[in-house]
Amino acid sequence: MKKKSVIEIIASTRFLHILLSIILGFVIGAGFLAVMGISVSEAYGKLISSITSVKGFSYVIVYATAYIMTGLSVAFSFKTGVFNIGAEGQFVMGSMGAAVVGILLKDLPKPVLIPLCFLAAMIAGAIWGMIVGFLKTKWGINEVLAMIMFNWIAFYLSNYIAGIPAIHNDGTAEATKTISQNARTLLSQELRTKFDLAPTANWGILVAIFFMFVIWYIIEKTTLGYELKAVGANRNAAEYGGIGVNKSILTALAISGALAGLGGALQVMGMGGRISIFTGQEGFGFAGIVVALIGCSNPFGVLVAGLFYGALTYGGSKLNLVGAPTQLTSVIIGTVVFFIAISVIFERLGGGVRARKNIEGRKEREKEAASLPAGSEKKEDEAK
């Protein structure tokens, strides 16, 4: 057996592209720091030290939960051939849905209220996704355009709802009331002090992981997932094959919207506790796009990418302490995404090598097969 060439190894594993991109992102970030005259080791040291402590890592998980959910939402939409740039709006609607239920039904017991909040958020997000799908299937309105519009409509609608007297904060804060304690997903006080966790440490991440498996199952193991993927791969062929394309698009957007909406719920029920009146878009949807891209639209990849994004966001917020700009993290993440985008060239380089190898390999196998007695070939196949 010949040893694999370096290029071939890189090409055969998507994981390595991404690792390489991440390393390059940090290298280029270091370049910027050096130009700005800031100590690279100090800045990166701060970045690492702030996320490796138990408390720091619990913060990372808290931050990552919402990114994983919007990441799953976008990744799912990618699989079905729709680019869900509207996760932002679905997220906002979901968080408002959960908040409204959490405020108005504050006396319900925890085991009832929490699922209700989740449900409200998923329905709100799903509706927001389906409106766009409906506009597309009924009137042929471009979904990207509609989603951009609906992101802003959600933005102002959320601000409007936050201003309604029954929802609005009684004090001076420009925000909603704080949601009921029974709707919070926080870990118990004892647990938090015992392990020295972040004050907002919550079990939302478990919900995110649960849905990661659900989405993986839907995509890989169900007829629905097969149909959605077929529509994503080739709309006309799918239609010819008897799949209802319009129904598929609506379903895909509803599921995608529900995921983003649930992300909003986890955010408000775990981290925020209330929703402020926005002055600018929060960017969770756009973070979801980045997370989905880094995670190769694979549910398990999204989990890792979400944690990575959360770590950089949280660690980045601590960079000020050593005089490095917080924006360093967007430069690093931007560079990572850029290199992931051009990683196609690795594939193309590797693809050529692989094709040649296949031909050589086949010749070798034929030679071996010819020299071996009959019957042994079958055994070899079974061993494989």
């Binding site: 009137w139 802003w152 409007y160 201003g163 924006q327 850029f338 196609v344």
Partner: protein, 314 residues
């Protein structure tokens, strides 16, 4: 009646003010999309232009030099996008997302180094893009006040209408325009006719960045007088929406941007006088866009080869 004419003048002024940056960016988006490259990085390119314009104007005192440099800064990011998508065959959405993170990230880091703050120092009146016809009309008459309100707008606004005409002319009356449209529809056919698809697309994405950069500069050098991280919040995406609205034609995109600007202008006037909640009024531009799409525009023809990396055949 006088009040109405007055308000109408203010609405028109606001329309032009809101629409100008969008039109520049939308023209840029047209170049890129029609040649077959999806460019969602417009937002990042606008931010780069918005920052560079104010910085150059601040240090040189010359707004037009700042305006030009804003375009060049946008073009730099355009070239980066072109390098990735056209030369290296990258996924266009992914590369655009990267540009949207890199643009703001890099310029805000530079702002921190130069100004020790994420905001730039406000420009003086001389460093901003001038208003050409302010005070030209006699404001004692109703008509004069109306004209004064409307023509209080900035030089960049008059320039953008010329730019729309030039882009329209280039698209539909020149060989370059014909080739550019063909590259977005059927690149293989172009190649057989001896047109260098890759170089055409590269140029178009660069032009796209240049125009987006100018659009960004309009925000920070005309409407406002400084760059802040929240200067460009979604205008790039609205510009892309306007292009889809205008069916990927420069004059169509112009109408989309003006419509959007008009609704935003309506918002500023209504917000003060009527009893309706300001948050609901703020939704008007987005809701109206959707309604008009349903009623009048409908399906938009996306250039056939849009979004597909073109790999040169040997």
């Amino acid at each position: 009646m006088t009040d109405f004419i007055n308000s109408f003048g203010i609405i028109l002024f606001a329309t032009l003010a809101y629409a100008t940056p969008l039109i520049y960016a939308a023209l840029g988006s047209c170049f890129s999309e029609v040649s077959g490259v999806v460019n969602i990085g417009i937002e990042g390119m606008m931010t780069a232009g918005a920052f560079t314009g104010t910085v150059v104007a601040y240090f040189t005192g010359n707004p037009w030099l700042g305006f030009l440099c804003a375009g060049l800064a946008g073009m730099l990011f355009g070239a980066l996008h072109a390098l990735a998508t056209v030369r290296l065959g990258a996924d266009q959405t992914i590369a655009g997302t990267a540009i949207n993170m890199l643009g703001p990230g890099i310029v805000i880091m530079i702002a921190r180094v130069i100004f020790d703050s994420t905001d730039t120092i406000p420009l003086t009146a001389k460093q901003r893009i001038p208003t050409l016809f302010k005070g030209l009309f006699d404001t004692s008459t109703v008509f004069g006040r109306f004209m004064d309100n409307v023509f209080a707008t900035y030089a960049s606004t008059y320039l953008v209408f010329i730019a729309v005409f030039i882009v329209w002319f280039v698209f539909y009356k020149t060989r370059f325009g014909l080739r550019l449209r063909a590259c977005g529809e059927h690149p293989e056919a172009c190649e057989t006719l001896g047109i260098n698809v890759l170089s055409m697309r590269f140029k178009c994405v660069c032009i796209s960045g240049f125009l987006a950069g100018l659009g960004g500069a309009c925000v920070t050098m005309a409407i406002s007088n400084q760059f802040r991280p929240i200067s460009i919040v979604g205008q790039g995406f609205i510009a892309i929406a306007a292009v889809i609205f205008g069916k990927f034609r420069p004059h169509g995109a112009l109408i989309g941007c003006l419509l959007f600007g008009f609704c935003s202008g309506l918002k500023t006037v209504l917000g003060g006088s009527s009893g309706i909640d300001t948050q609901l009024i703020s939704m008007i531009p987005y809701v109206v866009t959707i309604i008009i799409l349903i009623l009048f525009v409908g399906r938009s023809h996306v250039p056939s080869a849009n979004g597909k990396p073109y790999i040169k055949t040997r």
